[in-house]
């Protein structure tokens, strides 16, 4: 560091030839020599294979027959794709019930949580009020507090409210801006918007509620999308809470359903059924992820670099 700053080369950025191969993998604006580039591609593609493989394996297995699953073999895909596995699964009432429950819970949680987080994030970024720093510090302190500390007494609370078993313990707390990390993310984003906007609206006679709705919210769409995706993925995958709170068979959500498909008592284990349910379970997450990946990947960078 000290050697670098003492040379004072910060101004010489343009002087470096763009095609200088000597800057290796550390320089962004360059084009590499052929072999280096080839090696990078080899690394990228083999790593991608490692990352994609479980998904491919899952899909392949879901199309196999029981016999094929039982064999010791390395075939990724079956000789004849058994699409019947899917129609059978889709017609299974237990599956339909679990899927419906999952969709219901996710919708309620998303509506409540996203709205409340937007309100709170606005209060912490655009409004200036006495006590803001204290309240904000308290919120950041809850990030340190592990979820386990409140899990047990919350269970008692919900039990006394007669919410167990039921969707309420999962759906209702979200309405209170659950998730300090996401509030923080939105706050970081909203803080980057120019201050003039509020002032202009204020001069036009808008109150904070109107500014929030007509000025800030439309501009914060990327951050709100990020939060929504985070919440969606987190809630869709959530296994712990449903295990505790949705113990009734009619309340089962997809994660519990999929996890319950794997049963050690069965022999041979019907992997093709388990994987069919898994594929159907993963599809919504994959679609949302691919559609919103731009927001998603940038949103995480926002939490890390500014934190």
């Amino acid at each position: 560091m000290s050697t670098a700053t003492s040379v004072h080369v910060t101004e010489s950025n343009e002087a470096i030839p763009v095609n200088n191969p000597r800057f290796g993998i550390f320089k962004r604006s360059y084009s590499m020599a052929g072999f280096g580039k080839f090696m990078i591609y080899v690394a990228l593609i083999s790593a991608s294979a490692f990352f994609l493989f479980p998904l491919v394996w899952m899909t392949g297995t879901s199309l196999k027959t029981v016999e094929e699953v039982g064999q010791r073999q390395l075939n990724l895909f079956p000789e004849v794709a058994q699409w019947g596995n899917y129609t059978k699964m889709l017609n299974d009432p237990a599956f339909q019930l679990a899927y419906g429950n999952s969709v219901f819970v996710v919708i309620i949680v998303l509506l409540g949580t996203v709205t409340s987080i937007c309100l709170v994030g606005y209060a912490f970024s655009r409004l200036e009020w006495r006590g803001r720093n204290i309240v904000f510090t308290m919120m950041m302190a809850t990030l340190m507090l592990p979820a386990q500390a409140t899990l047990v007494p919350q269970y008692v609370l919900f039990h006394q409210l007669r919410w167990v078993p039921g969707f309420n313990p999962i759906a209702i707390p979200g309405f209170f801006a659950g998730g300090a990390a996401l509030v923080f993310l939105l706050r970081q984003f909203m803080a980057t918007l120019p201050k003039d906007l509020d002032e202009a609206a204020m001069i036009d006679g808008a109150n904070p509620l109107q500014i929030w709705w007509y000025v800030i919210m439309p501009l914060s769409r990327p951050a709100v999308a990020t939060i929504t995706v985070f919440l969606f993925v987190g809630q869709w995958n959530n296994l712990f809470m449903p295990l505790i709170y949705l113990k009734d068979a009619s309340l089962t959500t997809m994660p519990v359903y999929v996890a319950g498909k794997y049963n050690l008592q069965e022999s041979p284990i019907p992997w093709q059924n388990i994987m069919t349910a898994s594929v159907l379970f993963v599809i919504p997450v994959m679609i949302v992820f691919i559609l919103t990946q731009r927001y998603f990947t940038e949103g995480i960078a926002l939490t890390g670099t500014k934190g």
């Binding site: 709170v120 919120m139 340190m144 609370l157 993963v282 997450v285 992820f289």
Partner: protein, 648 residues
């Protein structure tokens, strides 16, 4: 479409919205009234009103779901509350039985904590290594980087759910699982790969066998000496190398502080248990506080020294009160008096420092106290039990394991109870103090050389003891015809070097479940990768250019520029990774087997199993508080010792 429970939830949701609406206005009004009370201007009052109006959904939720439950759970943790039954106050019984591993599955709490620590200490660095490698490959301008970034990140969103974990479970099956078949085929085809593969298996089994042996309790004796001696050795060596300056003082001071944290925590825990705490630990703690005072006044930082003193005194008082109010459990020797004596001894130097009329002669007092304590410790109690023999052996560096065939002898608390790690720390701190306070360079040199020799000998001695000890255990395990001791398994893993026939038993063997879980965590390390990528993009290219002009090669540029520049991202990933590791749940739930459960379960899984499957609220609250304290302590320590992080 909507059945009864769903309608009910919709109604509750609507009610909640109304509740938040009214509650928010109330909170905002109250806030404004308070602001008026503080005589703020009307414009400021309005700002307060709007601010609290918008923030109150979180404030209300915070009170209902965080503050209230936290207080309630603190109360529950002192009771035997089970859902649907009466609440009885049981004091510290929950904590005591957890830490003392009482009851049928008693050791499971310790195992779960150890497993979580394993994920944090072994898993997190590997995860970060994976994330950093991915980020470095992606930080190039080849075509399609965005697509690859998408693929690298994808596992993160899947790994939280059961579906992909089940796919992993299928792929990792022992017999006919895809991973093992592929690896086996590769190993048969390529000699070099086979060699590496066997090496990998040997490494994993050896390491995990050793670790499992540790977590199962018994064969830890030699290690309680080896580790502190090793740490001390490293600290002393780091002091010997390089030039003398403030840097050395800083290292010594930090070392003392770090040990101070650990010992202070141990003291409070011991107070909770009202165990006959070893007098030497309280003694070390007080010495540490004194050291903090001596060094800091030397450097002119008196306020921080005072903080340490008050902290130390506070901890001792907490221990004192807890010792007094906690009833002695049945079947345990009443050691309250001994404990109180120890605390009284330890309070003396702290009280000295509070008076602030102290000079270096206080160390003479310490010397006298030390002699006195050795006398109290060794005689007459230890002598009467015939244990002084072992202490003498240890102090004269002979092997302490004299009767390897005698199981009873090994199962008594080994030499740990005769010369325990506290003494090593005590000697270390005395050395460090000597280094800090001595003005004569020659004396300093002698101190350091003496300490190096001492800790070197203790290290070698305890390593030899360790080997003897492990052999003895193996011997006994064979004699009993079973593998009750996990060290038999460790020996099996290490004796056939390398095992040419078997493949990894990923999910069915105690030695492999934790590595399996870490493998999956490495597969889904993409979140860390994105943070590294953002940090790498922020490193100015001019730094590399300047370094290259100065003749730095690629490796130097990486270690001297890239790593320091991305150290904030590294720090963030370490903290988040550690917290995540202690809370691992989903992967454990999906990957566990009945026979490997105790080897894979994390603290969060243990909490789930004990509390929610058995509705045991009292004990569950105690578990969650212990877990919370550990997580917060780890995080605080990471922030405290984060001087390797460079902020711009």
């Amino acid at each position: 479409m909507l059945d009864q429970p769903k309608l009910e939830t919709l109604l509750w949701a609507f009610g909640t919205i109304v509740f938040i609406f009214i509650g928010s206005i109330l909170v905002a009004q109250i806030a404004r009234a308070v602001a008026r009370g503080f005589r703020l201007s009307p414009a400021e009052q309005l700002k307060v009103y709007w601010g609290f109006l918008f923030a109150s959904p979180w404030i209300i939720g915070f009170v209902i779901f965080v503050v209230g439950p936290s207080l309630a759970s603190l109360y529950y943790s002192f009771t035997d509350y089970k859902l649907g039954k009466d609440i009885n106050w049981v004091g510290l019984d929950n904590y005591r039985s957890l830490i003392n591993a009482e009851g049928r599955d008693g050791r499971n709490f310790n195992r779960a904590m150890f497993n979580s620590l394993y994920y944090a200490i072994v898993g997190v660095p590997l995860q970060i290594f994976a994330a950093l490698s991915m980020a470095l490959i992606l930080n190039t301008t080849v075509r399609g980087v965005r697509l690859f970034r998408l693929i690298f990140y994808m596992p993160v969103i899947l790994a939280g759910g059961p579906a992909i974990l089940l796919a992993w479970r299928y792929m990792l099956a022992d017999n006919g699982g895809f991973v093992n078949l592929t690896l086996g085929n590769l190993a048969e085809s390529f000699f070099l790969f086979n060699w590496l593969y066997r090496g990998f298996i040997f490494l994993v089994e050896g390491f995990n066998g050793f670790f499992i042996g540790l977590t199962n309790g018994n064969p830890t004796g030699p290690l309680t000496f080896f580790l502190p001696a090793f740490v001390a050795f490293l600290i002393i060596i780091s002091l010997i190398r390089g030039e003398w300056g403030d840097n050395k003082r800083e290292i010594a001071r930090r070392a003392i502080e770090m040990i101070g944290f650990l010992v202070g925590g141990l003291l409070v825990a011991a107070g909770l248990m009202a165990e006959p705490i070893d007098i030497s630990w309280t003694f070390i703690w007080s010495l540490m506080v004194l050291a903090g005072w001596a060094i800091n006044t030397h450097k002119g930082h008196a306020t921080r020294a005072q903080l340490w003193q008050w902290l130390g005194l506070g901890l001792l008082i907490v221990g004192f009160i807890l010792t007094l109010i906690t009833p002695v459990p049945e079947g345990v020797e009443d050691a309250t008096l001994g404990y109180l004596t120890a605390i009284a001894f330890a309070s003396l130097p702290i009280l000295f420092t509070l008076v602030q009329k102290i000079d270096h002669r206080v160390f003479l007092v310490f010397g006298a106290l030390l002699v006195g304590i050795i006398l109290i410790r060794v005689a007459p109690h230890q002598l009467l039990n015939g244990k002084a023999d072992v202490l003498l052996r240890y102090m004269t560096f002979q092997s302490a394991v004299v009767q390897p065939d005698n199981l009873d002898y090994l199962n008594t608390e080994y030499i740990a109870s005769y010369m325990d790690a506290a003494w090593l720390f005590f000697i270390l701190i005395a050395t460090l103090l000597g280094v800090i306070l001595t003005k004569s360079a020659k004396l300093r040199q002698y101190t350091l050389i003496g300490a190096t020799v001492f800790f070197g000998v203790v290290m070698i001695n305890s390593a030899i003891d360790g080997v003897t000890y492990f052999r003895a255990y193996d011997h006994i395990a064979q004699a009993e015809g079973g593998s009750n001791f996990h060290f038999a398994r460790f020996n099996a893993a290490t004796s056939t070097v390398p095992d040419m026939s078997s493949n990894p038993k990923w999910l069915t063997n105690d030695l492999w479940v934790k590595p399996s879980l870490i493998l999956i965590n490495m597969w889904s390390a993409g979140a860390g990768m994105l943070i590294f990528l953002a940090a790498l993009k922020g490193v100015p290219g001019s730094l590399y250019e300047a370094a290259e002009v100065d003749g730095a090669n690629r490796v130097q540029r990486f270690f001297r520029i890239t790593l320091p520049m991305i150290s904030p991202a590294m720090f963030y990933n370490v903290v988040i990774g550690m917290i995540g590791a202690l809370q691992t749940f989903e992967a454990v739930y999906i990957l566990r087997n009945n026979d490997t459960e105790t080897s894979v379960m994390s603290a969060a899984y243990y909490l789930f199993q004990r509390t929610f499957l058995q509705a045991n609220i009292g004990e569950g609250s105690a578990i969650s508080w212990l877990l919370a304290v550990i997580i917060v302590a780890l995080t605080v320590m990471q922030f405290r010792y984060s001087n390797w992080v460079h902020y711009e």
